[in-house]
Subunit: 283 residues, 6 copies
């Protein structure tokens, strides 16, 4: 999220602006003269991990490329409550028309990063890494996954195309774990590892025998997970998943799994609290 023009965020930003602006910002057009200059400040309403400043900034630049930004914090920073995060200077009509869309991005992304960070903190004394899932807001996966990385988490596969993950439904159709793993190994690119989801220790054994590269322990209790980790014994990577919360993540990490994937990071984040205030109007 540097000055690389070629990421999917431009399309996301344009669509979000089109959705909000439609044929025009009726209130701003009526109340603010087009050439009024001034400054606005972005204020954090709570302590948070900042994520999404490039999207925030680009949203305004899509409206007016001449706006100037002076940032005091950057992505990954812990921002204290009440801090001024950045200043925006230029045409006030552009700032007012872009405000809500820019904040909608920033609040979601910083909310995800802040939540991720809390999970990461809980497992910092273990080997486990916190992963996201594909349970993202439709159309916003790139932003959601970027925010997870910003909060200290690691990304699982982006979509259905850059990882093999055999789930219960695939096993149901293929007939057995062994059969599914073997079909996956035969029928997919050699650049992808084969991961398989299992629900009990019998599944773990079968997955090991079938030669899975990664074993996903779904909805197991910590003691059973511990046994699974010992059964696998390094022959495959181990991932835990299934309704994991801030209360349970620590116990799960202590079972020795390599990865813990948490759907809530992206399916139910709370928006971080930000506001934008006009701090100066040039007369």
């Amino acid at each position: 999220m540097n000055n690389d023009r070629f990421s999917p965020i431009h399309g996301m930003i344009r669509r979000a602006l089109e959705e909000d602006l439609g044929p025009g910002d009726a209130t701003t057009r009526a109340t603010v003269a087009p050439d009024t200059l001034g400054e606005a400040i972005l204020i954090a309403g709570e302590k948070l991990i900042l994520a999404g400043m490039a999207v925030f900034k680009q949203t305004f630049l899509e409206i007016d490329p001449t706006l100037v930004f002076v940032a005091r914090y950057r992505d990954r920073d812990v921002v204290p409550e009440g801090s001024t995060v950045c200043r925006i200077r230029g045409r006030l009509t552009a700032i007012l028309s872009g405000e809500r869309t820019a904040l909608n991005f920033l609040q979601r992304m910083s909310g995800i990063a802040t939540l991720t960070h809390r999970y990461v903190e809980k497992v910092k004394d273990s080997r486990a890494k916190i992963l996201d899932t594909r349970k993202t807001a439709p159309g916003l996966r790139w932003c959601d996954k970027f925010a997870v990385r910003t909060g200290g988490g690691q990304n699982h596969r982006f979509g259905l195309f850059d990882g093999i993950l055999i789930k219960d439904n695939h096993i149901a159709v293929a007939g057995s774990i062994s059969k599914a793993v073997s079909l996956a190994r035969e029928g997919s690119a050699h650049t992808l590892r084969v991961e398989v989801e299992v629900e009990d220790l019998a599944g773990v054994s079968e997955a090991c025998k079938a030669g899975a590269d990664i074993i996903l322990l779904d909805n197991m209790k910590p003691p059973e997970m511990k046994e699974a980790v010992s059964l696998i014994n390094g022959s495959a990577l181990v991932e835990a998943s299934g309704g994991i919360t801030l209360d349970t993540v620590g116990d799960i990490a202590s079972t020795g799994v390599d990865f813990i994937s948490v759907g809530a990071l992206t399916h139910s984040p709370e928006a971080a609290d930000f506001s934008l205030e006009i701090s100066h109007v040039e007369s």
Copy 2:
């Protein structure tokens, strides 16, 4: 959300599928023969208000228009925990490839509807109606606002173009509430009402004098709101906003305001719990 082909959901669905499927579902292609037929069932993991069935269904139909859906519940229904919501029959590859994207829509939309419904229940003995805001997930406003209606709420303006809402920042630039209201009345379509945000009783008086059609009481305490309502005395519609929660919404409703707008409905909904399970594979 009937059989009307012309809504923004088709674009949203295509983009969400492109994001998840990219060049193809590697796992399903490797493990499931293209013509395997079968059935999957959609199960509610908790009690919820159903919202988004048309989007859920259309997501799968974009992949395979021959899939057949048999629904037991419809949008607006209260679905008990553990219920089978619908059955999907047809090619299992299409069902497996569309599953996550379809669930991502349905879980967000039903989450919003369920949360809205809880707010609506809290104010049912007052005149107040629950409104949404523009604090939606970027690119998903249509779905978010549809879900609010489905949960019993009412929509505020869709974007910056179908309502005049003069906020603190516009007032700061215009110079005063009176000036801003007058500019808005002069410079906007006669089909739009003029709404203005005020923060205290002095603001309320000024807004009334300026002839605002709607007065938005921002972050006032209930006793002050009550006074404002009595001051306005029917000369304008009254809306309350600002950090309203399920705990405070009842008191606010009892002040006599006409509308209460709640950002949390769409900026921080919890995903409703659903799962999709293959219930039958044709051999």
Copy 3:
């Protein structure tokens, strides 16, 4: 239409250029060396109200962002017949390839502004304002409505989403004016006024009783309109419409209506007369 990049005109301009240029300008490529520099002048072939200079300019800039424009007139100016409106300097291939598309925009927009201005002049001694309608060239509504404002008119709602206008067909389905107005009030955003079209004095009375915010007198004769205005007596805004011409608009304005909407402004404007001439070729 300042340096705001985020308006629908960019898409309109690109589509218009794609339509005209397709795989390339065969004549210019064959007859003009790519690096020939020079100047062209834009000449008004008749007295007109200038509208659309930003679109005119942007059309050329889409082809070659290095062209330089020196304008002698701006939008809203009355341009005398034969005047040089602006000069364009730079690569002549870009000027020649963009000429027709740029002129097509400018001629339509200035044609609409000039016509609007003539209507506005006719009613300048009354309270009535001239409004446009949704009878615009498909895909060009933003330009058409911009041109009406530039000519001194005021915009009616942009589309079906930013105003409530109950027409004869809605009343036919709803059953009565009263029923339709009441359904509209209940079922639409509180930010929108409710306007209803009526055809006679009985309709006017019913609309008043139903609490319509705006009453549209459709195809009434001036004496009947005058009676309607007096019947309404300030309880609603009053708009007149229906086959209004430059000959009749004055009489209608004198009935005391607040607004007069004129479809012909945008459905049948005459193109304003402009030409572009190469004034200098650098050798």
Copy 4:
């Protein structure tokens, strides 16, 4: 304009509907129940040449593919004032939401066809054919040119890519008619004829010598045109252009030119008069 899905009209229709419908038809949604069925009739308000029925129909079908159309007239028909042109049956919400956009297309296209027909009638006793130009509404060229053919005219090149037309500005840059014609012949596809615009008899001679395939007589008086035709004597096709009106077209045709191109056909057509009325509501 048969059942061919692959023409540019689908994009035009979708954009026009998006422009008018945005996030939804507020009035219809509030006043008409989604499943109300009924019938509407399309009525011609004046005598006209019908053009654009496929676009008219497809506009509604984009909203609801289950609507049924029963047409009494087809494109190219002369429709008497007051006639019912077609009936539309199905969901009334779809009919009401599509009405304005469908009519905007049909009124423009039939207006162009009707005007073209009047020109064609004026020259029917000569060898001259009426041509259109590239002076079309931006983005609507396909429709505008289709309408000209429907009215009995013939299309000039569609854009800058399917015909060579050397105009005054190209000659100014190339240095002379001879040089421009020779460059065009060398540098363009052998599938295209070379046409050159000239303003006087000297130009005609030079163009003939240079081997132009078509000579465009721009803004000449009929006697001079007649001389030009005789000078050319069949060695090239002859086209006349320049401010031609219904009053002057007959005289020009009688000079013996092969083609007469008329910009007004598409830059200043008057919208044909149509209305759509709900004729039946199912109860």
Copy 5:
């Protein structure tokens, strides 16, 4: 490539048709009446492996969804020279307008499949599998890779996102093979294997020690490859690449590598020879 509507081919087909048809097929419109029905046959001009029939068929269906196809061969079939591959019945205008675009797809795809098949045949007695590369025609990767699979090859990663492949340039920047492999392992999704390109035996050793999952032997001679395979000894998968031809592929396969990637499959395929002939015109 079954009846799945959601693959990238629809966009490819539409763009290819737009490119060829532009505003319309001038020859067909002029010479064939719109409703003429008939039949065309697709003939293979040489022995080939058929690939791309779904794209071929869909190209025509985009123009006219009522065309009927009767196929005698399917993808993967060896088609003898002179065979009739399929029959197409319906409106001849649609068949004529789609012919070239449909053939362009089919000839490229069958050319790739036929070439791939020749490579696959050469290595059928070894363990080696033939892989493609990312050296595809820009915008056509999905088709090119589909054709490779159809010809019996296996796909390498689709793009830069679904496989880690550390090449000489990455190593140059990272500083060493070990450093690059370690950075890749740390910084990428756990679902991806890490592949590294090496040029000599020293590189092979370093890659093994660094824990690479796949080692790509670039431009090595067969004897050196054999030594590399024995050095790696099953601790990583082995891929060979670099200017491999039909003459050299057999020797390379016999070195014991697991995969051989061949750029020529997709960067320089010869178009397969097909023609389409009208076999019947209904009178």
Copy 6:
């Protein structure tokens, strides 16, 4: 292919990059720090005609507009084997991520130009010009035809819209050569010449009588072609086509035809050999 922004290449480049980059370049992100600066050099692996440098450059600029290019060769140049064609300086992540896509364009385009040049050399002592056909890679026609011009060839019509070419299938439907030519002349724009494909001398005679502007001799032997040329005797342009190779093109040129169209130029070009190497990393 100068600094003209308005050509179809931008869309082609973006789609090619999206196809290759998807959600991101996994290898580069993991192994190269975002701000590492350096230089890469483009090397020609064989003697070739350079074509496509603007597309090559623009591909990188889409990713990072701050990259700097220093070119030693330009389009149309003969580049000796082993030459450094250009240097690229800037962020190495952008160079690495764009490398493959940029090379894919350049290798195809230079391959086409080099092949075209070889055909052009073979006929340089005749009057014949080498033409391309519509047998291009779907979606890449603009690039393919640009490359043909760069190699010294001339373009045939771009698509079905900018030339009339009556082929065997059209004649089969129309009934006869005469009928088809006459329909084409009547029903198409006067700016287009009428070309007709014939297979024998009888066809040639009929085409001449029918007044065809161009006669295409399909699959004739040189002696028959010579006879055809003499039969036509300048009354029409003459084009030869049908399986022409580098071996046969010289003989065909010596028959006196005006044009020779060669499908192989664009349907089966061999990719030119280029490589990109990091030459410097700033530390």
